[in-house]
């Protein structure tokens, strides 16, 4: 019997422009694949894609909703890019988001019926610190006790979720709320200012933009950014260069946690306005897709977060207008990642066919 032999070789000459173009290619392939799925499901593919990707953002309200949905994804993904670039696998951004929300929410409840311009900044700051401290747990365990940060950060998500459950059911539940698992609505002074009447877009977007700019500054213009990049390419090189690996690991986790905490506090002081059990529909996990889709690059992440946010909105509109099952949104997210990883593989590796050979077995 004869078999085809295949050899996989690394390519050395990957051009930078193609590297940043493959996500765009992945999105087009997703649109194409999505069209086929809609067709099989019995919908007109063009019409379905229109309802999925154009209708949701065809008015100002839709655009504002897109930004609201993209804001936490962008923030978390920016933070994660620090970790992922330096080979630290923080999978627990969801937990850091929730913990940031818990700390920020606790402060907001402390300032209940308390006016003053300083209330909101204190809440936001405490949320960021909360997320940061929570992210330091896996970082310290990794650097000093050699634990696996993937497992620790992931398991801490459940700890954060259970803590939130406990607080909103028990000590922090609304005294006038008939025991329902939620806190009071925060007072006005603890809410993000709304930018335009009638829309939900709030001042949190400025925090996101500032964070994006700062992270670009850190990643590309500082010694720390250089360390992160070198560690990402090769840990050994980083060691030879004499970088203090442990400090850097802790710092990237702190940045990542602070960003996730900011996202959490932005949600509860923004569109939600209170603490309850569902402050995040798994933003922390979706942001992992966003980070990679954006090539771990601050500008790329902005676009990636908008696109992924659109898949959520699109799934809702497509269900309202065409009764397309809502889970197609998740299918689209999966397809984007699949096509991105697939084209990456072909980008970095060559597949060589070495001809037929006799199989000795």
């Amino acid at each position: 019997m004869e078999v085809q032999l295949i050899k996989i070789e690394k390519r050395n000459d990957v051009s930078r422009s193609i590297y940043f173009l493959t996500p765009v290619l992945a999105i087009f392939l997703t649109l194409f694949g999505g069209g086929i799925i809609f067709f099989i499901l019995g919908f007109n593919p063009i019409e379905a894609l229109k309802f999925f990707f154009i209708t949701p953002i065809s008015d100002l309200y839709g655009l504002s909703e897109l930004l609201i949905k993209a804001t936490p994804l962008c923030l978390i993904a920016i933070g994660l890019s620090f970790c992922f670039k330096s080979n630290n696998w923080n999978i627990g951004a969801e937990g850091q988001l929730i913990f940031g929300g818990v700390v920020g929410g606790g402060v907001a409840l402390l300032f209940y019926n308390h006016d003053g311009f300083y209330v909101l900044p204190i809440i936001i700051l405490s949320g960021a610190i909360g997320g940061m401290l929570f992210a330091m747990i896996p970082a310290i365990l990794k650097t000093y006790f050699n634990t696996n940060e993937i497992l620790v950060s992931l398991m801490l998500v459940y700890v954060a979720k259970l803590l939130l459950d406990y607080l909103v059911v028990g000590p922090w539940s609304n005294p006038e709320g008939f025991n329902f698992p939620e806190t009071r609505q925060f007072s006005e002074s603890a809410r993000m200012p709304i930018l335009f009447d009638g829309l939900r877009i709030h001042a949190g977007i400025f925090i996101t933009l500032i964070t994006v700019f700062l992270s670009w500054l850190i990643l590309y213009k500082t010694y720390l950014g250089f360390q992160i990049k070198v560690s990402g390419f090769s840990l050994k090189t980083a060691k030879y260069a004499g970088f203090k690996g442990k400090t850097m690991i802790i710092i990237v986790f702190m940045i990542s946690g602070a960003c996730a905490g900011l996202a959490g506090v932005g949600e509860i002081t923004g569109p939600i306005g209170q603490l309850h059990r569902n402050i995040s529909p798994d933003y922390g996990f979706t942001a992992i897709i966003v980070a990679f889709l954006g090539r771990l690059n601050p500008v790329g992440i902005i676009f990636a977060s908008l696109i992924v946010a659109l898949t959520y909105l699109g799934a809702e509109t497509a269900q309202i207008f065409l009764q397309v099952p809502k889970y197609t949104g998740q299918v689209f997210q999966g397809m984007i990642l699949f096509f991105l990883l697939g084209s990456d593989y072909l980008l970095f590796f060559k597949i060589k066919f070495l001809g037929l050979k006799k199989n000795e077995l």
């Binding site: 008015d59 100002l60 309200y61 909703e65 609201i68 949905k69 459950d165 059911v169 028990g170 008939f178 025991n179 329902f180 698992p181 939620e182 609505q185 335009f196 009447d197 009638g198 829309l199 939900r200 949600e267 923004g270 569109p271 939600i272 306005g273 209170q274 309850h276 059990r277 569902n278 402050i279 995040s280 529909p281 959520y312 909105l313 809702e316 509109t317 269900q319 309202i320 207008f321 009764q323 099952p325 809502k326 889970y327």
Partner: protein, 354 residues
């Protein structure tokens, strides 16, 4: 100046959105918290929606809408896209529903299981599930050998505590030695957690399993362990044919059809609806003949009496866990007390999580 311009632009767009929808066909929208295939809570609401559709009214639904920041957008989108009546079918949609209702005074909103009606276009509705629990308690009290009833509870809100109490009171009436053991799972739908809870209760000696959660996992665990169980929200008989004695069925269909027609014909009014066995919003699945003809007859009679009002689930004397009297001999708990119920009756084990 710029901000002023933007504001006026937005209001013009809003206005256009309104006027475009005025002449559109009458449509009803539904917002679900779970997938339509959960075979419990959401499944039953979707059955109700299908009944509205069968009555010749166009409907739309959005499933698995998280109770966080997304709910408001989905509700608003339904309102904006020409839906005239919107049912939001989970407690967590309470504030978002009221917020959107404020901006769409011409659209009617109906929120299930909540208590806020902040605007004249918001109505609330729920069902007297506790009447069904009274029937379950009667059967459980008669069928148990270990005198221990296992109860999987979701959240310590009045609705759930009311169910626990109604069941325990009815069980005690036929079997004074009854004890109710409770596991709080703090979720409405999590097959994994629910089946663990069922197993834990069986391990503690419960030979009757009932649930105030939505998945079919507990009845399946009961079937395997060979103990009795009761289905929740929809008829779960086919998931545990031997074990299930009956199921409490939430039948929203008549209510949804009635309210949709009222909204279409312009007779819709704000109200707070709390229907039970009498109106058919709470119904019972066929009784399992394994409990014997005599018991089936007894339960059927009790069901009739509850529906006619001859028997009330909360008739005094009712004592709390410490023995203080809650409802005097011969008296009946009023709806206000039922709506805010936050203590266990005597015979329930443990404390309410606070």
């Amino acid at each position: 100046m710029y901000k002023l311009f933007l504001r006026s632009l937005i209001s013009v767009l809003f206005f256009l959105g309104f006027s475009l929808n005025v002449n559109a066909e009458f449509k009803v929208g539904f917002v679900y918290v779970g997938p339509t295939g959960d075979h419990g809570w959401t499944y039953q609401h979707d059955e109700g929606r299908k009944a509205v559709e069968a009555a010749g009214i166009k409907t739309t639904y959005v499933e698995s809408v998280p109770e966080g920041a997304d709910a408001e957008r989905v509700i608003r989108q339904l309102a904006q896209s020409g839906h005239d009546l919107i049912f939001t079918t989970s407690f967590g949609y309470m504030d978002p529903t009221n917020k959107v209702a404020k901006d769409f005074p011409n659209v009617k909103f109906e929120h299930a299981t909540g208590y806020k009606r902040e605007h004249s276009n918001v109505a609330t509705y729920s069902a007297r599930f506790y009447e069904g629990r009274t029937l379950l308690g009667h059967m459980a009290g008669k069928m148990t050998k270990t005198n221990t009833i296992g109860y999987i509870a979701s959240f310590p809100i009045p609705e759930v505590i009311r169910g626990i109490n109604a069941m325990t009171l009815a069980a005690q009436k036929v079997n004074p030695d009854i004890k109710t053991k409770i596991v709080w799972v703090f979720t409405w739908y999590d097959p994994g957690k629910e089946s663990e809870a069922a197993q834990a209760l069986i391990d503690q000696g419960a030979d009757i399993i009932m649930q105030h959660t939505d998945s079919t996992a507990p009845v399946q665990v009961a079937e395997k362990a060979g103990v009795w169980s009761f289905g929740q929200a929809s008829d779960m008989q086919r998931f545990a044919p031997k074990s299930i004695l009956t199921s409490i069925i939430d039948d929203w269909a008549p209510y949804y059809v009635e309210r949709s027609i009222a909204a279409r014909d312009g007779t819709w009014k704000q109200q707070d609806t709390w229907h039970g066995l009498k109106e058919g919003m709470v119904a019972m699945a066929p009784y399992n003949s394994a409990m014997g003809d005599d018991l089936v007859k007894e339960v059927e009679q009790l069901q009739k009496d509850l529906a006619s009002g001859k028997v009330h689930s909360f008739t005094g004397p009712i004592y709390d866990q410490k023995g203080n009297i809650l409802v005097a001999e011969g008296a009946v708990a009023d709806d206000g007390m039922l709506a805010g119920m936050n203590v266990y009756v005597k015979g329930v084990e443990g404390d309410i999580p606070q």
